[in-house]
């Protein structure tokens, strides 16, 4: 069972907006055993949308469209669908009521005619009620294939996918079982890793695929299996992982979960009843931001001092000015002093500190670009490591953040 995703909107094709919807939809489809054959982004243009629908119908059984459902003249998806299915638009009473409710609750006004016209849907479509916005989702069946049209606003689309589309697909079809397992490795390049596991890779059965996903300092190995026989896939992937692990044990650091590392750390800290704080220089608050992006962060995240200016390290964190003078602001000593200060200031159990130069220019410390010190403190000890993270500013920041989470997690796991 294959799916195709079509995103509609000039804003994607001029690069004004990054298409995050497709990745979300693809992930949710994958979880229920639906493979995505292709993702296509097209303009707000009737002929182009019609062409994409024809092509998608050839390749896939489930076609999901997003975008082009707004109330304005550039939103043409609904009329195009009506044309594609040789259909007309009818006013839907439930959608009309939903629009009136939304306007009463959030707009404090009565909806205008263009708002109310969002309740016009192709007569062949089942309405998928959008509780978060005025544009309804639509579900149209033709020759055993399903066409699903969703609004492009991400949280409206997500609500419909999770609450309506996925349950409805599962009810209607029998899907194969898909499993992805991703092994995280650090410290070995993609090609060196490939050479090392070549013999293992060659003996993989045809229904297990291997992919290498290299990124900043790490290579993820993803094993994917798909079959109607769930037990067989589970056993085979387990077996293959058992075979490969001894080959990579020096660089293997764990399995990638659907969750981010900071979410995993958050859960570990919550379970332990422990807390964390950060003192960030070169990472500029990104570690704090990632912690707090998770619901429930207040249970384990105390806070952060982003001491970007050198003087702030002295005034706010209370790092000794002489220490900075002697060792430079980008040094193991200062990183450790920052981490220790964070523990004290925030009364936390763990602290992360970062100091370095993300570039592109040499900063206060005249340190080479890409040089970063990361420190981890607990209530009774502190340690740090030095890294060189290249000369691309955002890359340096991201690598520092990733590495800091990794160091903290290792420390937490020791407890």
């Amino acid at each position: 069972m294959l799916a195709e995703i079509i995103t509609i909107g000039d804003e994607i094709l001029i690069g004004q907006v990054v298409d995050t919807n497709s990745a979300f939809i693809a992930k949710q489809l994958n979880k229920i055993g639906v493979s995505v054959y292709q993702i296509t982004s097209v303009q707000d243009d009737k002929e182009h949308i019609l062409k994409s629908l024809r092509e998608a119908e050839e390749n896939a059984s489930i076609i999901i469209l997003t975008g082009g459902l707004g109330p304005t003249k550039d939103d043409i998806t609904k009329n195009t669908l009506a044309e594609y299915f040789d259909d007309t638009l009818l006013r839907n009473e439930a959608v009309t009521q939903n629009i009136k409710r939304l306007w009463a609750d959030f707009v404090n006004n009565i909806p205008t005619q263009v708002n109310l016209d969002q309740a016009l849907v192709p007569s062949k479509a089942q309405v998928l009620m959008n509780l978060h916005g005025s544009a309804p989702g639509m579900w149209i069946e033709k020759d055993g294939k399903v066409f699903i049209s969703l609004p492009g606003v991400p949280y409206e689309m997500r609500g419909l996918i999770d609450d309506v589309v996925i349950p409805k697909l599962r009810k209607q079809f029998k899907f194969p079982y898909i499993q992805h397992d991703t092994l995280l490795t650090y410290g070995l390049g993609e090609s060196a890793l490939a050479e090392r596991i070549e013999a293992w890779e060659d003996q993989l059965p045809h229904y297990i695929k291997l992919a290498y996903l290299p990124s900043l300092g790490r290579v993820r190995l993803r094993l994917s299996g798909k079959s109607m026989d769930k037990q067989m896939i589970q056993n085979e992937i387990k077996h293959q992982i058992a075979l490969v692990l001894p080959l990579i044990e020096d660089v293997f650091v764990g399995f990638e979960r659907d969750e981010s590392i900071e979410a995993v750390i958050g859960k570990q800290l919550t379970a332990m009843g422990k807390t964390v704080a950060t003192a960030e220089s070169c990472t500029g608050g990104k570690i704090a931001e990632l912690f707090t992006a998770n619901a429930g962060a207040s249970r384990y995240f105390k806070g952060s001092v982003v001491s970007y200016a050198t003087q702030a390290k002295i005034d706010v964190l209370g790092v000794d000015a002489q220490l900075i003078e002697e060792f430079s602001v980008v040094s193991a000593q200062v990183a450790e002093a920052m981490a220790t200060a964070a523990i004290k200031l925030f009364d936390s159990d763990f602290a992360i500190a970062t100091t370095g130069n993300a570039g592109p220019e040499k900063g206060d410390a005249d340190t080479e670009v890409g040089k970063v010190f990361l420190a981890i403190a607990t209530r009774d000890k502190v340690f740090s490591e030095q890294f060189t993270f290249g000369n691309h500013r955002l890359k340096v920041i991201d690598r520092a953040v990733n590495k800091a989470f990794e160091m903290l997690q290792k420390e937490i796991l020791k407890k």
Copy 2:
């Protein structure tokens, strides 16, 4: 002149990775007058890639592929290109030298055979040297059309697009002039806005397109024009903006620049020789992180206290515990006290403070989810505003961050 972008890689189709490359490429192409007809994401599958190449060749004159150039078995783009162009792979000496240099500089090892084999390129391809990685870019011409294959690693791809592909395209082709102007409006829904400017929209000439881009609390109106006659497009867009502005003056807040608002603020502060600091609760360091993502942030950004826990507001920022007791931690009084504290702690000219409940649960203050207070302080005054930003955690954070930047910018512009 139309372009098509093809991204190759299963990781996109299973939703493991969001395709940010396409938006970047589309934006850079647009700037030089090339419209992107379609963006297509396909699997690491030879037949599928060949099919996409055939379709793209029908629609577009410039076809840009990313991904599938790594050294491992799942990377099949190069062999597929050789098949498509009825070509063979030849070893390129310059790429071999580049790989040896990269390994000497960064890997401290000699490259293995799979690494060296990345220097194999189709004989009909011109090599686009990738200074940041071992996979070369490739440029292949056929019947006046150009096929460009680039690595999928974002910073490698970006370097090649900016430094090699765009200059080479401009040298080889004469492109039309494309201009996009985006007007930011706040406080009026998409449909109400559309009704208000309907008569104006109807009289737009056919070569000027209008798009509505609604998002959290704002609607962006994008005018796009394209022609070989640059002067005509510039004049016409200017004329149309002059016509529409009087219709929306109560909700118009400015033009969207290619730069983010925090980058614009950074430039304004640098020009004024002024500085900013932040005291963040519900935004968790995101404002600090966005400031510091910009190169040169050390000139104007002093630092931040992320006082996530209530106790941190007292201990680190020095907010009066009684104030919190009396007015609650989510209050105008506490937001203003935080902003004033940030000015003092960091010795900055401006400060932003945020306190609120991003949800999904009621936190320390038992405040309703979505309620946020934002404060702006200068050295001699402080003020705050209250907002209700809905019940979606990341949306609340984003809206608070956007609004805080907007408040700060207004204050800066008064100086």
